[in-house]
């Protein structure tokens, strides 16, 4: 069972690409410390990669401004880590994509890569917002 000392919650608003990515990575680093895991822990490595892919997509396409930042929430216990990413961008048309782009393609791998690294990646259009939920068992 998860002990309270393994519970972790982090919330942030992200309003620019580079600073936003710094916050996303810093949140996973903090989670590693709380869980006592090192940089080569595969579950958190996979989760961090997926969070960065979904996060940078939101920061790039989410019509982000100081008035409409990306909302990011990270929650973990000893068994599962979950992230929510909320942005104000247009609907994501191909959110179900699983196929990797061909090897010569320079783009188009982010969603498939994120999905391959998670136990669950859910997308929901909620009013004028995009809501992503990322889940990884630890």
């Amino acid at each position: 069972m998860a002990g309270d000392n393994h519970r972790f919650e982090f919330r942030a608003t992200l309003s620019d690409l580079e600073g936003g990515l710094d916050v996303l990575h810093a949140s996973i680093d903090e989670l590693r410390k709380v869980l006592g895991r090192d940089a080569d822990d595969r579950a958190l490595m996979f989760f961090e990669t997926a969070v960065a892919e979904i996060g940078n997509n939101a920061l790039l396409h989410g019509r982000v401004s100081p008035e409409r930042p990306v909302q990011y929430v990270l929650h973990s216990d000893a068994e599962t880590v979950v992230a929510w990413v909320l942005d104000s961008g247009p609907p994501v048309a191909r959110h179900w994509v699983r196929e990797m782009a061909p090897p010569t393609s320079e783009a188009g791998r982010g969603l498939a890569l994120a999905r391959s690294m998670l136990d669950s990646l859910e997308y929901e259009r909620r009013g004028q917002l995009n809501l992503w939920r990322l889940v990884k068992r630890l």
Binding site: L21, E48, L60, P103, S105, E106, R109, L113
Partner: protein, 113 residues
């Protein structure tokens, strides 16, 4: 954290690019710029020393594919050296490990290039 790219020449004339930081959507333009400076001066032979790269995302990978296209388009050759575990996992999951030869060390990548 932006990506900084150091450039040096190895004894055999191969150019070694050594990026430091995250090779991600924010850092990829710096690698593209470094590659653009190499092509056009004869067939470039290039090793990207990935030891200083802490994290790679799909856009960062795209910049390496772009580099490979430009270098091969100029009859050159590109090798990757010393990717960390996260970079190797991303290369494998995207099947790009079949496209890129990567080596454990820069010295191994330089051998025979």
């Amino acid at each position: 954290m932006s990506l900084e790219v150091e450039t040096r020449q190895a004894e055999n004339g191969v150019t070694v690019l050594a990026p430091v930081g995250r090779l991600d959507v924010a850092g990829a333009p710096a690698l593209k710029e470094a590659i653009a400076q190499l092509v056009g001066n004869g067939p470039p032979r290039v090793v990207i020393d990935m030891e200083g790269i802490s994290f790679v995302d799909s856009t960062g990978l795209g910049s390496v594919i772009s580099a490979l296209k430009q270098i091969r388009g100029n009859q050159g050759e590109l090798r990757l050296a010393a990717p960390n575990q996260q970079a190797r996992v991303v290369l494998e999951l995207t099947t790009l490990d079949r496209v890129f030869a990567y080596y454990a060390t820069v010295e191994e990548a330089l051998a025979g290039l």
